[in-house]
Symmetry: C2
Subunit: 469 residues, 2 copies
């Protein structure tokens, strides 16, 4: 999807929006904000796609308010763009046709914690950090960690995953059920609280990853996990990206239940060393985390060390001390800022693909060579246990030649992943940026998705312009 | 759903079927069978719902044949009832409106094993035992085990789970992607082979569990797992069902990664002792299996023993010897036959519900009292780590009074599970038998399911009369 095509899309909703705004103002009063600063902040897109502002932002306080917005918007054909924290990366919260941004951050109540069942129910605006803070005294935690302190609603809507997914799965695996307001205003609960069910179509997982295009998620029932007795984190350097990837492949094949296994290529490691004052050699490395009992973790650590050594890597020095672990993962989470420090003033544009694990070394190697040939500054980091990696391009977004170069690179990266039977996005989603690649990845499936969208949202009011070209 | 209602449903497809049969005969020749014996065998339903025979059975040999059947059936409004091994329990393979049973058992090729990626791709007629036999030399296995030697296609279509689900999840967690022939003849691949993806709607999980009503699954890409280094199985007796359930709850809450944890109540244990010559006390017990490294399994075993003891159970005597383990699980899998031996000549009618684990003891206890008050002979067994249990009623199916009694009992059981925020079926599916309960469990969601069905199968040719009332 070329940038120029995104910017030239039609805006069919103008008249309806003009009719609806006074009605919405009457219904919601000060909760509906039309000031430009607020609108601009809500179109923030961590991508090369420029901000496309909504006409108004509604700070919703309840499911009833969400339903009323949907009913009014439906009557007048007004687009609704659901918004959590705005940390999505493919233009998900842009408003290409204008409309109302539905900010759900004030719906931030933890509705129930069922510690005895290892589950909880939250409103969509609860962030993952807020949830884990609230859970602290229960001995439980919610593992999914996309890096940003995203909202649970946004994470569900985009099928988020992140560093822990190799062990705990993605949002699709950790949402037991949810409630959503559909385009016709109906409030639908998708599942009861039982751990498993075979009762009809899996609407939970149809809505997880639907990017706000099928329904607006108003509560989420999540799986929780006991905080592991022992957590060990550490870094393992490797002579090359290939040797690190080969070690990852063998680790996964051996069945070591790593909780995190993150690759940083040489460029990324240098950035992290500079930004986070890490004491590391400037070579590709894996950031590892192991969860379990003391003996279980020791066993996993030994197994991993042996694999690393076999591939020329190591030594693997892990620590169970909270401060050291925190420093390591803070450095990983601060990677975006570290990367941006490599080219002050540049914008970081992050893209992701995911391939079968056996193709990971090939895919990253070829991508590395492509980056060098293209002359981009673009470190690679990745949730490599899942075959998922990110390229963070540091660009001057005001230079059309750089944007063109980046777009051409992204197209080649996606071609490469698809040729390896991979996907155009492991976790960032489709949004606006990957619509063209989705059409190539799953052409027949896309027609089925379109049919479902047309049935459940016939007026196309729910996040229009996302997922579908 | 009362039996009399099922039997009185309309058969709107008679004329279309009459028109289509000669056309189908011409296209498929001897692959299309209309003899009564074959038709009767394909309507076999392990339930109290009588057989409802199709007009013909097609033994399909390829995806092309499936597509051609769908195209001809679509033109003439002929119902298609997909059939794997016929081991479903809620009338899934019945043909209430007649039509063509699509027997997929001859599509039994293992299309690819990607040992390095821990996945494989199979045709729908491959059975789980055939798959595991074929995998033996790779050191990998496919864990999902619903008891019967079901086909992978049928297991995907019904979102099967079974004894291992507590550790390895259900079919929803283990199907990476699939290919299906949709009602309009389109062949849709739902996902690439990457371990995770956020590329558009999750059609994989929409089709998993759709019971053949949205598309006919023609190939399945499955996750595989390394055969554990150590497997330990054993039985642990308890003084009461409640104490056993309480031990299960604590085991799950403690995070012990049990691979199997199966409850047999006292009636079930007595049946198993008699049928499988087990050397056990005649009290409720848990059948346990632990997977891991030798030290990991020893650690799990100690932890579980301590929990069992705390609840008055034990001793827990586990064995890692293959023959002893095989004997134990054979006894569990033969439970149906053991139960039937309790009342020679009776039919065993099995129903399942699933509740949050914290409610399990209550739900089973109340059900136990209900069984006694009703005067049914009905052992309880269950995949209790998931909160899922089965009641196997031994009935004289020719006695309307017994059927009435069973139906009333099932209704109360489902009410009980729903009141505990559970589901009317943890793993048996909706089929014909649970349509009324689904409508009560998820009333608004059911309308969304109906809309999807109407869009993707507007002529209602794919397994009509299932899931929806």
């Amino acid at each position: 999807m070329a940038l120029k095509d995104i910017l030239s899309e039609a805006r069919p909703a103008r008249e309806g929006i003009a009719r609806a705004l006074p009605i919405l103002k009457q219904r919601f009063g000060d909760r509906l904000v039309t000031g430009e600063d607020v609108r601009r902040a809500h179109a923030h897109s961590t991508s090369y796609i420029p901000n496309q502002m909504p006409d108004a932002v509604l700070f919703a306080g309840s499911e009833d308010e969400v339903r009323d917005l949907v009913l009014i918007a439906g009557e007048h054909g007004v687009p609704i763009i659901p918004f959590g924290t705005g940390s999505s990366l493919e233009g998900h919260v842009n408003a290409p046709q204008g409309g109302v941004c539905l900010d759900l951050s004030q719906m931030d109540k933890i509705l129930a914690v069922h510690a005895e069942d290892l589950d909880c129910t939250v409103e969509p605006g609860v962030t993952r950090e807020a949830l884990n803070n609230a859970l602290r005294d229960t001995g439980l935690f919610f593992p999914i960690d996309p890096g940003a302190n995203a909202s649970i609603g946004g994470m569900a809507a985009t099928r988020a995953s992140g560093t822990n997914a190799v062990r705990y799965g993605t949002m699709k695996d950790n949402v037991i059920g949810l409630t959503a307001v559909m385009a016709d205003g109906r409030i639908v609960r998708t599942a009861r609280r039982a751990k498993k069910t075979s009762a009809g179509y899996d609407l939970t997982r149809l809505l997880v990853g639907s990017e706000g295009t099928l329904g607006i998620i108003t509560s989420i029932n999540l799986k929780l996990y006991g905080i592991p007795e022992t957590i060990l984190s550490g870094v393992c350097p490797f002579p090359s990206v290939k040797s690190a990837c080969d070690a990852v492949i063998q680790t996964i094949q051996t069945g070591i239940p790593v909780a995190r296994i993150e690759l940083l290529d040489e460029v990324a490691v240098k950035a992290a060393i500079g930004y986070s004052q890490l004491d590391l050699p400037a070579s590709p490395c894996l950031f590892i985390e192991l969860h379990g009992s003391p003996t279980g973790v020791a066993e996993q650590s030994e197994l991993f060390s042996a694999i690393a050594e076999e591939h020329g890597g190591g030594p693997f020095a892990g620590s169970t001390r909270t401060e050291e672990r925190a420093k390591l993962w803070k450095a990983r989470h601060n990677f975006l800022w570290a990367a941006m420090a490599l080219r002050p003033g540049a914008q970081s544009i992050s893209t992701d693909v995911c391939v079968p694990v056996s193709r990971l070394a090939d895919c990253i190697e070829e991508t590395r060579l492509d980056i060098e040939a293209t002359g981009l500054l673009a470190p690679i980091v990745g949730h490599v246990g899942d075959g998922n990696f990110h390229v963070s391009m540091l660009l001057d977004a005001s230079d059309p030649a750089e944007i063109d170069k980046a777009e051409a690179f992204i197209a080649r990266l996606n071609d490469r992943a698809l040729a390896m039977d991979g996907t155009c996005t492991g976790e960032h989603g489709i949004g606006q940026g990957k619509r063209g690649f989705l059409a190539r990845e799953l052409p027949e499936a896309l027609e089925v998705m379109r049919a479902i969208k047309a049935t459940l949202d016939p007026k196309n009011i729910l996040n229009p312009g996302k997922i579908f070209l």
